[in-house]
Symmetry: C2
C-alpha cells in the first residue's frame, strides 16, 4: 500500500509524494546520532527521486553529514535525480569508487546530463569509469550543442531491418542481453542506418510470427534532428503524443532515441524557466540556493528595475510645480501607474504563453492585437468611470476627476498595446519574450501613466 497515489482527506495533502514528516524526523535523528545503519534502513524503501529530494532539502551541514554516512549506498539513480544546483557538492563528497560505480549504472543520457557542465579534468575522471562503448556514446552526445536533442537522447536503441518478420524480431530480442531498461518501439533501419519507420511493442506482441514488420508500422513515426532544440523536442512530444522518437544526424543516420519521460522533464524545466524569467528571477534559481547565489540572481534584475523606476521619476520631476500646487496628484498618481502595470502584465503574460506554445503566429497576430487593444480600451473606460467617481468624492473637483479618468483610458489602452507588441517585437528579433518583456512593459506603463496624468493635470488644472 505504501506505493499507492491516493487522496487522504485526514492526512496532509502531499503526504503520498513527499516522505512523511515522521520519517524526516527519524532521518534527522539518525544524522544527529551518526547512525548509518538506521539511515540506510529508513531510506531503503524509498524511490531514488524521493531520496534525492531529501538530500536537496537538508541544510549544507546536514547534507555533508548525510553524504558521509550514506555515501556507499549512493547509486546512479539517486545521482541522476539530484538537482543541478547541489550536484557538484554531492559529487565532491562521494568516494571515487562509489562515483565510478554509480556512473556505470546510468543510461548514457543521464551521464551526459551529469558531466556536461563539468570542466575537462572532472569529465575525464568520470568518463574513465565507463566501458568503451558507453564512453563513446557519451562523447558523441557531447559533440552536439547544449540543450539539443543530441544531448537528450540515449544511444541504446533497439533496431531491426524492415524485411524482418514478427517472429524473427522476437527471437532477436530474446537472444540479446544488452537491451535498454525502457523501450517502446523497434526502429526499422535500412542498411545505411536510416530510420524508415517504427513498430510499437504492443502491436508486435499482438501480431502473429509470420507478419512482416513493415505491415505493422505506426503512423506517428517522425524523426528528430540531433541538433534540434530540446524545447522544440518537448513541444513535439506533447503536440503529437509521441512516446519515443528516433534521433538522426545530419546524414539522416540513426544516432539515438528520445523517450517521453525525458521530454516531460524538459517541458517541466522550460515552464519553470518561463515563470522565473517573467518574475525577473534568474532561471537557475533553486530552493537549495545559498544566500549569495540567490542574491547574484536577483540583484541584477532589481538594478534594471531601479533604472526604469528612475526614468518614471524623471517624468514626475517634470511636473514638480503642478504637484506642489495640487498635492492630490501625488496621492492619485500611483493608482494610474499601478493599474497600467497590472493591465500590461496581464496582456504580456498571455502573449508570452501564446508565443511559447506556438499558438500566436502568422494568421492570428493581427486579430489578437486588435482584441487586446479593444479590451484595453474597454478596461480603461470601466476604470475611468470608477476612478473618476472616487476622485470626485475624495477630492471634490470635477476637473481632477476628468483628468484621472482620461489618464486611465490612455494608460490602460497603451498598457494593452505594450503588453502584446513588446513580446512580439522581442520574439521577432530573436530575444526571449519571457526574459525582457516585463521590464519594458512596466517602463512604458509608468512613463505613459505619469505623463498622461500629470501632463493633463498641468494643462487643465493649473
Amino acid at each position: 500500500m505504501s506505493d499507492q497515489i491516493t487522496e487522504q482527506p485526514e492526512a496532509e495533502e502531499d503526504e503520498e509524494f513527499i516522505p512523511r514528516r515522521t520519517v524526516l524526523r527519524q532521518i534527522d535523528a539518525a544524522l544527529e546520532a551518526d547512525d548509518a545503519t538506521q539511515l540506510e534502513q529508513l531510506l531503503e524503501p524509498m524511490h531514488a527521486a524521493d531520496i534525492a529530494d531529501i538530500i536537496e532539502r537538508l541544510d549544507p551541514a546536514d547534507r555533508r553529514k548525510f553524504l558521509q554516512l550514506y555515501s556507499i549506498e549512493m547509486d546512479g539513480e539517486i545521482l541522476s535525480e539530484i538537482d543541478e544546483a547541489i550536484r557538484d557538492e554531492v559529487i565532491e563528497a562521494l568516494p571515487k569508487e562509489v562515483l565510478a560505480e554509480a556512473v556505470r549504472e546510468m543510461d548514457s543520457d543521464d551521464v551526459v546530463d551529469l558531466i556536461e557542465d563539468m570542466d575537462e579534468g572532472e569529465r575525464e575522471e568520470i568518463l574513465a569509469a565507463l566501458d568503451e562503448s558507453d564512453r563513446a556514446a557519451v562523447e558523441q552526445s557531447l559533440t552536439y550543442p547544449e540543450y539539443s536533442a543530441g544531448r537528450l537522447m540515449q544511444s541504446e536503441v533497439v533496431t531491426a531491418p524492415p524485411h524482418w518478420t514478427v517472429g524473427e524480431t522476437i527471437d532477436f530480442l530474446r537472444a540479446e542481453d544488452w537491451l535498454p531498461e525502457q523501450f517502446y518501439h523497434i526502429i526499422l533501419v535500412d542498411p545505411r542506418r536510416h530510420p524508415v519507420g517504427y513498430v510499437a511493442l504492443g502491436r508486435l506482441l499482438a501480431s502473429s510470427r509470420p507478419i512482416k514488420l513493415t505491415d505493422i508500422t505506426e503512423d506517428s513515426f517522425r524523426t528528430i534532428s540531433a541538433t534540434a532544440d530540446e524545447g522544440d523536442v518537448a513541444y513535439a512530444f506533447n503536440q503529437y503524443h509521441l512516446i519515443s522518437a528516433p534521433v538522426v544526424d545530419n546524414d539522416e543516420r540513426l544516432v539515438g532515441v528520445i523517450t517521453i519521460d525525458d521530454a516531460m522533464s524538459v517541458l517541466d524545466e522550460e515552464h519553470e524557466e518561463d515563470i522565473l524569467r517573467l518574475a525577473g528571477v534568474g532561471e537557475d534559481s533553486a530552493i537549495t540556493d545559498t544566500v549569495m547565489e540567490t542574491l547574484r540572481q536577483r540583484l541584477p534584475w532589481l538594478a534594471v528595475n531601479l533604472a526604469t523606476a528612475v526614468i518614471a521619476s524623471l517624468v514626475i520631476a517634470m511636473f514638480e510645480d503642478t504637484i506642489s500646487a495640487i498635492v492630490a496628484l501625488a496621492v492619485l498618481m500611483p493608482i494610474v501607474a499601478s493599474m497600467g502595470g497590472n493591465a500590461g502584465t496581464q496582456t504580456l503574460t498571455v502573449a508570452v504563453r501564446a508565443l511559447a506554445t506556438k499558438s500566436l503566429s502568422g494568421g492570428n497576430v493581427m486579430r489578437v492585437v486588435r482584441r487586446e487593444a479593444i479590451v484595453g480600451l474597454l478596461n480603461g473606460l470601466a476604470f475611468a468611470i470608477v476612478m473618476g467617481i472616487v476622485a470626485w468624492i475624495w477630492f471634490g473637483g470635477v476637473s481632477l476627476a476628468a483628468v484621472i479618468a482620461i489618464a486611465m483610458v490612455v494608460n490602460l489602452a497603451i498598457a494593452a498595446l505594450a503588453g502584446i507588441l513588446i513580446p512580439l517585437a522581442l520574439e521577432k528579433v530573436g530575444a526571449d519574450p519571457a526574459l525582457a518583456s516585463g521590464t519594458f512593459v512596466t517602463t512604458v506603463t509608468d512613463v505613459v501613466g505619469f505623463f498622461a496624468f500629470l501632463g493633463l493635470a498641468a494643462t487643465v488644472l493649473t
Copy 2:
C-alpha cells in the same frame, strides 16, 4: 522528410511545428473560394493536432466556413485535440452523424474530456452514439470528481493473471482484437481484479515463452486512486518516471489505466494555469477568446488591484502636507514602491513554484524563510546605497538621501518576508498561493514602502 523535427537556420524557427505560412495562405484562399476539395487536399498530410491548431487560429467567421466545408472530414482525433475554449462552437457546427462517428473513434478518456462540461441533454446525445461497453466506461469515469484520476484514465486495460507465462500472454494478445491503440504494460490482476504488479512489454518480448510473468515484473509499479487529484498524478509520473499506471477504486479494484501522454498534458495545463494566475489572468484564458471573454477574465483582477492601489493612496494622503512642503518626495516615492513590488514578486514566484513542485515543506521552511530575509536585507542595503547617492546628487539633501536609503532597506526586507510568508500562509489555509499571493504582496510592499518613506520624511525633514 516532412515529418522531421529539425533545426533550419534559414527558415523561420518554428516552421517544423506549425503549418507553413504558404499552406496557411492556401487554406485562406480555399476558404475564400469555398473550395472543399482543395481544403481537404491541403489538410490531408497534416497531423490532427495541427489541424486543430489551424481551426483555433481562424477568426470566428472563417471558422464557421471551415467547419462547413470540412465537416465530413472531422474525426475523433481532431475533435479531441481542439481547445476547450472553442469546442462547443465546433460541436454545434458539426452534423449529428459526423459527431457520432467521431465520438465512436475516440478513447474513453477523450470522450470524457469532451462531454464532461456539457449539460445533461447534450451529453445524452453523444453517449447514445457509443456502443454499450464504451458508454458504460464513460459513465463510470464521470462518477469520479472533476480533475481526478478517474476522469483522466482510459478504461481499456490489458490484464493477465499472475500465474501466466510469457507464452500464454503472447498467445492471448495475438487472439484479442480489441486491444487499445497504445499500451506499455500488462497489468497483473488477482481473481478479484486487484492489481498486483505489471510487466513492461519490452521485458515480455525479451523473455522466453516458459518464463512466468511474476518473475519479470517491474519495480516501478504503483497504483493510483481514482479519486486522486490529476495534478498529483502528473507530479507522480514526472517524479517517478512512470509510463503508465493502473487506477483503482476504493476497494482497490482495477478500473482503468493512465498513460504518460495524458499526464504530460495535465502537467502542461497546470503550469499554464500557474503562470496565468500569478499574472492575475483568468486561468481559462485562451488566445481564441473573444473580447468579452477576455474582459470578463481580466476586469475582476484589475478591480482588486484598484482597491489595493486606493489603500496605498490612502497612506500617501496621510502625508499630503509633507509632500506639498517637499515635492521631491512625490518624485522619489514611486521608486521605493516599485523596488519593493519587484523584490516581493521575485521571492513570491520562487516560493509559489517551490510549493507547486513540493520542494518547500516541513524540513526546509525555516531555512528558506531565513535565506529570503537575509537576501531581502542585503538587497535593501545595496539599493539603499545606490538610491541614497542618486537622491543626494539629484536633490542635494543629505537627510533626504538618508530617508530614502532607510526606506529602501525596510521595504526590501519586508518585501522578502511578505513574498515568502504570504504564499506559505495561503497554502496552510488551503488556498492556491499562485492565485492570490501577488495582490497581497504588492499591497504590503506599497503600504510599507509609502509609509516608511513618507513617515520617515515627515519625522526627519519637516
